[in-house]
């Protein structure tokens, strides 16, 4: 799994390449939280374009990041969801608290 974090003002864009399951989620969590601190980020945008697989472990990861960013008054968004993962998201009720956009630009425009 490869994780790249880039900043656009206080929006942290996280591009993950690889599968998200229990095995990979620990390292993923650690990388995100470290970058989030270091860059003093507020909002988080997950770019899902190169994630071919995610199980419910991914829901836990996103919920956890949502909690962290909420404490700073931030929001969490996701872009470029694959159909399989879309269905895991729908089940989880994550859409109630997490925004979904088609592109990173759209997400950047909407997040305050």
């Amino acid at each position: 799994m490869n994780v790249v974090c880039t900043m656009e003002k206080r929006n942290m864009i996280i591009k993950i390449q690889g599968e998200i399951d229990h095995h990979t989620s620990e390292a993923l969590r650690e990388k995100i939280d470290k970058a989030y601190e270091r860059y003093n980020a507020k909002n988080i945008i997950f770019d899902f374009s190169e994630i071919p697989f995610m199980d419910s472990s991914g829901i836990g990861v996103i919920m956890g990041r949502y909690r962290n960013s909420s404490q700073k008054g931030g929001q969490v968004a996701i872009v470029h969801l694959q159909p399989q993962i879309e269905r895991v998201f729908q089940l989880s009720g994550l859409y109630k608290i997490i925004h979904r956009y088609e592109t990173i630009d759209e997400a950047l425009k909407m997040l305050q």
């Binding site: 989620s25 697989f53 919920m63």
Partner: protein, 142 residues
């Protein structure tokens, strides 16, 4: 009864074997020429059950996980077993959002994912002896 094709696998309870288990089941079920969606439903359900064996059954300690897969007509039967801790209250365990390990950022959605993506999910468990999850999915593409 003679199944049309059958395999059984056992592997160590290690988190890197979660992906391995998904690949094994996907490779076996691929013989039926399922749709990509059906295949990813099955992979996701397998991932949930194997992860539960690793995290909850053996609590990240040593142990073996047993997985069986049978193909019969257009039906795929999958059985995932651990000889770990077991579940006291299966009904509660299967409720959406219930998790005994919130400190590990578990979402409590594992069983809900299995039930949504498969046609049948049955759980048998004896505390102190282990847990078996039985799942079946009918492939409409076959």
């Amino acid at each position: 009864m003679q199944y049309e094709n059958e395999m059984k696998i056992e592997f160590m309870s290690k988190s890197q074997n979660e992906a391995f288990a998904r690949v094994v089941v996907a490779a076996f079920v691929s013989q039926l020429d399922p749709t990509l969606e059906e295949l990813s439903d099955i992979k996701t359900a397998v991932s949930e059950a194997v992860t539960n064996a690793v995290i909850h059954g053996y609590e990240n300690g040593p142990g073996m996980i047993y997985l069986a897969c049978r193909l019969e007509g257009n039906e795929t039967y999958i059985e995932i077993q651990d000889k770990g801790k077991g579940i006291e209250d299966i009904k509660q365990a299967m409720e959406p959002l219930y998790t005994s390990k919130p400190e590990l950022e578990r979402s409590g959605m594992g069983f809900t994912v299995m039930e949504t993506f498969m046609d049948v999910v049955e759980v048998r468990s004896i505390p102190g002896e282990g847990t078996t999850v039985y799942m079946m999915k009918r492939l409409h593409s076959v």
